[in-house]
Subunit: 329 residues, 2 copies
């Protein structure tokens, strides 16, 4: 294991200090927790997300006006405990309630829901949206149903903008369900990622092998095959998405190409270019585009393609609205 760290068991603690110190006008750590919150919480329904660490910039990099008000950082690839999520809820509630955005992993669901119950006993209104955008496989290692991956960031963005615009907790829960139903993602991995406390990669692929559908914690995908071209990878993934969306010509969509942490922007842009061409050839209207590292898997080489059907014109406005976060660009 070759990493720039100190003791593996201190990685998350030191990383949180680094995140907060490098964004000291925007972010603060809730004392004695692994919760990163916005310093000045706006007067609105507050949004909280989080999960295991190792997916940076998710989720702390999306805390700020117009996105999240707090991110809860679990140990690497491990759900945060319910008391940590509970602390986050208490730290951000402005009396209008708190919305939890949860990626669909069994541990996260359990701990976020337990925190919801604790907060409701304090008379804090809490709602939740569960993101399950990864259509590659059903019922994975840590998941019942589909996993939540890079599309989660689009949910942060749309709901964060709607919350800032004054949506109520109930409205946000309903909007969240609509948005999640219209976001789908498929990834491809070239290498595995190594959790610092484990010291070995979660899975290994041969030098000439790739795997489609791998999860952001290295969960198995749906097919291994020989390394091929960017165009072939884009074609495989676009067809998978098309089958799931069953889209019609002239539909408006957005695209997010998400790097897994070890894949340079050079490759992400080449792959984006191929994906864009394939989608444009299907006569979709591509109204929104993002390329970069948003929801990573430590140093994994690979990327994912997320498509959002822009079923409501307001969603595009929410996606394009300005934010003050560290990492939404």
């Amino acid at each position: 294991m070759k990493k720039i760290i100190n003791q593996p068991e201190n990685v998350v603690d030191e990383m949180i200090n680094g995140i907060v110190r490098s964004n000291s006008q925007l972010l603060e750590r809730v004392p004695n927790t692994n919760v990163i919150k916005q310093i000045n919480i706006p007067n609105q329904v507050a949004l909280v997300s989080g999960g295991g660490s190792g997916h940076e910039p998710a989720h702390a990099g999306f805390v700020g006006d117009g996105m999240l008000q707090a991110a809860v950082c679990g140990e690497v690839f491990t759900s945060p405990t319910s008391d940590q999520v509970y602390e986050a809820i208490k730290a951000v509630d402005q009396g209008q309630g708190v919305l939890l955005i949860i990626k669909n992993y069994s541990g996260d669901i359990m701990n976020f829901e337990m925190a919801q119950e604790l907060a409701e006993m304090d008379d804090i209104k809490v709602g939740k949206v569960i993101v399950d955008d990864d259509i590659a496989v059903e019922d994975s290692t840590f998941t019942q149903g589909k996993r939540g991956v890079a599309g989660t960031v689009l949910v942060h963005k749309i709901l964060g903008s709607a919350a800032r615009a004054g949506a109520s907790l109930d409205e946000l829960v309903e909007l969240g369900q609509q948005v999640v139903a219209n976001i789908k993602t498929v990834g491809v991995a070239l290498t595995g990622a190594t959790v610092p406390e484990v010291g070995q990669p979660g899975f290994v692929l041969a030098d000439d092998e790739i795997e489609f559908g791998v999860g952001i914690h290295g969960e198995p995908g749906y097919r291994k095959e020989k390394l091929t071209t960017s165009k072939e990878m884009a074609s495989e993934i676009v067809e998978k998405l098309e089958a799931a969306f069953n889209w019609e010509e002239n539909e408006a969509v957005g695209i997010l190409v998400n790097g897994m942490g070890g894949t340079p922007l050079m490759e992400q842009f080449v792959f984006f270019n191929d994906s864009y061409q394939l989608l444009a050839d299907k006569n979709l209207h591509i109204d929104f585009t993002k390329v970069g590292n948003f929801m990573t898997s430590i140093e994994m080489q690979g990327l994912s393609l997320t498509v959002i059907r822009l079923a409501d014109a307001n969603w595009l406005e929410h996606l394009e609205a300005d934010v003050t976060t560290a990492n939404w660009i």
Copy 2:
């Protein structure tokens, strides 16, 4: 070589298309060139930078209001030709002149200066600033003197903001020289990077080995040693910077931790946290901080620490000013 690309010889062309298509409201490609320019050039001295590709998001990701007006993309790790730079100058000049920001590599210097001569024959005023912030070694593989690395992005930011505020070409050249004299960088590498058309890493380190002072094209550094902790790496680099700056207590500085492409944000934040603590312990005022991938070396694992002495209070304002670029965050 495991990369998400098509034909290696087409990587730069396809990447440029990806960059422009994913930022279609901001950027356009100058026809029949590898120049990426801002669509709506403001009425000011225009800034042009560039160099070999493989350093993304540098430089195209910094094109926009308040930074650059164009970026010239050479082949991977190869200087752009003088005619490409000349096309960029012609495409952005608004009659107030064009400033070239050049990283100190012999090929870049030669080709940018040749382009300057061509443009001056067209009566376009052209000035230049040469960035040589890498204090690790003198007279490297492609360089006379010191290399230009991640600190170049801070030069883009300060000069871009000053140009927007109305500085003349002569003023920008002078400001650029002052700023460059106050920026110093040292890097550390864990792995080498593979140029697609070469197919093999530029250098190889053992599994337990790191190298201090490696350049962004894999140029040799100043010392190899056994893998150590983030704190030890930060200490080595901070001491090197301290010896070069000879700073005094209470000086105001900014810090940039730059990932080389394959190093996850997790490690960058841990290293930032250690570097910040070391600099704070020396009673420096750390007024500006950035962490992320700004000037990469394809998929190299490693990072660099840049310190800028904020010798003038205006520099901090310029660093903090809003921009519209794709990748300055």
